[in-house]
Amino acid sequence: MDIPYTVELRRDTGLTNGKIGIWLFLASEVMLFGALFASYILIRAGAPSWPRGDTFLNVPLATLNTIVLISSSVTMVMAWASLMRRRFGTFRIYMGGTILLGLVFLVVKYFEYSHKFHDGLFPSTNNFLAIYFTLTGLHGLHVFGGMVVNAYFWGPGSKLWKTNPEWFTNRVEHSGLFWHFVDLVWIFLFPTLYLL
């Protein structure tokens, strides 16, 4: 049995099921990260002293990562736009670029983490590092999750393009919405943890 409105729009809502689903999911993600940011504010406000981000963290490296992640959002949009123009080959290139940029982000993050561990800076060292590792760790998991989904659409999932291109385009769009959200979380994380 086929579920209606996976591809075609429902007339009175003007939406597909997937579009509503992904926005609801993002709403719950806002609450997840919102709670963590609120905890950060509460703990920082209650602390007698709080280190500036650059005491422990590498700002140039994080700036590089910010650029990487924003670029990946651009390639993500280009991937989706290629599908809208019915250019599958270009989609493959841009989607591949998005995945690679995500990978670059995680590799940079890995070097940041291992450098901290090498210096004897752990989540248990102080509350600044605790919130730093928790927030960036959770964000890293989201980046990884987004990469898995994107890789699926780049590889095996792209078979759907041949049978149902509209549906495939919708799915890439939803994956893109998630990717932009992950990007947006970083845009908040970067100044909060590194600069303030």
């Binding site: 209606p4 409105y5 429902r10 689903g21 609450m31 709670a35 989540p123 248990s124 102080n126 590792f133």
Partner: protein
């Protein structure tokens, strides 16, 4: 009847049906994507967990009634680590209390009310062929199941299951035994399950409702599930964040919830410190207060359906009920700190939250009043579902009214953490929500199986449960008003002030054990009726909502013809009509004809 354009052409539909027949046992009953099978999976698992959680508390009630006495029969079976010589250790008392709460709320009531009834009834009531995301639905059940398994496994790890209360307050929970880590991991699974479920419910309600089914034509049950889904969607993630931080505290040695200079067993804890124990409480109750409404709203939805059906009358004040429900949903996010009056968070905070708490009682009263007025002038059929639904009203009323003193800062201080609190919220959830859920089970059982449950056994179950629910919980008000704390593992036996009320603990405990005996007719009835119950047609209660136009049990895809809604949900006893109910999906000119 015209078909909406969205319905698949008959040919491919038939082809798919043929394909469906090939599904093996595993795909059909275990890894099913059909919302009805998933709903039943949720409901049965939820019922089993309710029974298990109830067993835990029956054990605990022995200790409260007869502290320091050896429990006959079962006492020695539970091992020297928990009950040496059959006498309960305080640690085991804590374990039972914490896990009773966790299991009843997260593994019993919510899965049954939302996962079970929501999954099974909601798509049928809105005339949908299935949930919007069937595979996500399946994953949601699997995540719930894994969460349940994790919680059960935690009883066997060193130190036993979680002992820090179902609220897992820090810093105690941060330094508790391994069981607490299992509790947190289990919760992450349960939260994931709820999130996936909530996304599915909201999308399904918005997108897959039948043609003509405007929001104000929704049965009240659909509204209740819809609002509940928003609460689950937005309130659970902060607990996930909190659980992550508590896991970090326990596993990575962080100090989110550990203040500086914390002394444990006479020694200063070697941690970075600087954390905030109250932060956990804020994050926990930010979930757990909306969670209270997650527990009660589906119950109200079920009761509304059954009352309209058995009074043969439209609900009184349907619109006000819906507006109240939505308002309740919004307000439930800004009342959480009324659980925290004792924490010293300050009078300004307390004043704010006591005000919002008083405001939120208004919509609850509106809904309850509308349901009571709905009874007025009806020719009421007292079948088993209706008995449970009617009993819900005063029982929930008691629960609600006794909550008012707890919502006021000054009155809460002497009552906080006493048995009064336990009595209050159990009146809301046990004879309240559970009665509604029983009502729903008896009411929708014919839709799921094509057979009715036995009425006589149902009435024995009802009257026994009604009497003994009150025997269990009414004495707790007395014990609580005397000031006895729920955390005392001997029920207050060593305190002089508790002596005049101690005998009520015995009454309460015997009430619980008798209540268990009166669940036996239900359990027997449930299984017996699946195979031997009285066969029924698709609409045994002469109800109006769309699910009753589908065959019983509904086939894969639910409806033979995609239904279309022509009117509101409760068109009972319409003047001039040939019968006293009109199905929502029945065109007016077909009123006399046999249902589709």
């Amino acid at each position: 009847m015209t078909q909406p354009a969205a319905v698949a052409p008959p040919k491919s539909h038939a082809a798919h049906e043929a394909h469906h027949e090939e599904l093996g046992f595993w795909r059909k009953y275990v890894f099913s994507t059909d919302h009805k099978v998933i709903g039943i999976q949720y409901a049965v698992t939820g019922l089993l967990f309710l029974l298990f959680g109830f067993s835990l508390i029956m054990l605990l009630r022995w200790q409260l009634a007869y502290p320091e006495a050896a429990l006959p029969l079962f006492g020695t079976l539970l091992g020297e680590a928990r009950m040496p010589g059959g006498v309960m250790l305080p640690e085991f008392y804590n374990e039972l209390g914490a896990m009773h709460g966790t299991i009843m709320v997260f593994l019993g009531v919510v899965p049954l009310a939302v996962g079970g009834f929501g999954n099974f009834v909601l798509p049928l009531q809105i005339g949908a062929p299935d949930m919007a995301f069937p595979r996500i639905n399946m994953v949601s059940y699997q995540a719930f199941f894994l969460g349940g398994v994790t919680m059960l496994t935690s009883f066997f790890v060193p130190g036993g299951a979680a002992q820090s209360g179902w609220t897992s307050y820090t810093p105690l929970a941060d330094i508790a035994t391994t069981g607490q880590t299992m509790w947190l991991i289990g919760m992450v699974f349960l939260i994931t399950s709820s999130l996936l479920g909530a996304i599915n419910f909201i999308t399904t309600t918005i997108q897959l409702r039948a043609k003509g089914l405007a929001f104000m034509r929704f049965p009240f049950f659909v509204w209740a599930q819809f609002v509940t889904a928003f609460l689950l969607l937005l309130a659970f993630p902060p607990l996930e964040a909190a659980a992550t931080m508590q896991l970090m505290d326990r596993l990575a040695g962080t100090s989110f919830f550990l203040p500086s200079g914390l002394v444990v067993s006479g020694q200063v804890l070697q941690v970075a410190g600087g954390g905030n124990p109250l932060l956990w409480q804020h994050l926990f109750w930010f979930l757990a207060h909306p969670e209270v409404y997650v527990l009660i709203l589906p119950g109200m939805g079920i009761v509304a359906e059954i009352i309209a059906n058995n009074t043969r009358k439209p609900l009184w004040g349907y619109r006000s009920m819906v507006y109240s429900l939505v308002f309740l949903g919004f307000m439930s996010f800004i009342v959480w700190a009324h659980h925290m009056f004792m924490t010293g968070m300050g009078t300004a905070m307390a004043a704010f939250f006591q005000t919002t708490t008083m405001i939120i009682s208004i919509p609850s009263v509106v809904i309850l009043t509308a349901l009571i007025i709905s009874l007025w002038g009806g020719s009421i059929r007292f079948n088993t579902p209706m008995l449970f639904a009617v009993a819900f009203l005063p029982m929930f009323g008691i629960g609600g009214l006794t909550g008012l003193p707890l919502g006021l800062n000054v009155a809460d201080i002497p009552l906080h953490d006493t048995w009064y609190v336990i009595a209050h919220f159990h009146y809301v959830v046990a004879p309240g929500t559970l009665f509604a859920l029983f009502a729903g089970l008896y009411y929708w059982f014919p839709k799921a199986t094509g057979r009715k449950m036995n009425e006589t056994l149902g009435k024995i179950h009802f009257f026994g449960s009604l009497v003994f629910m009150n025997v269990v919980f009414m004495p707790m008000f007395i014990v609580g008003l005397a000031g006895v704390s729920r955390r005392l593992f001997d029920g207050g036996a060593i305190y002089a002030f508790a002596q005049p009320v101690l005998h009520w603990n015995v009454v309460s405990s015997w009430g619980a054990w008798m209540l268990a005996i009166f669940q036996i007719p239900f359990i027997f009835n449930f299984f017996w009726s699946i195979w031997k119950g009285e066969k029924t047609d698709e609409n045994p209660w002469q109800a109006t909502t769309i699910e009753w136009s589908a065959p019983s049990p509904p086939p894969h895809g639910n409806f033979l013809v995609a239904p279309e809604a022509y009117r509101g949900p409760y068109e009972y006893s319409v003047p001039g009509a040939t019968k006293d109910f009109m199905l929502q999906c029945e065109a007016r000119d077909q009123a006399v004809a046999a249902p589709v």
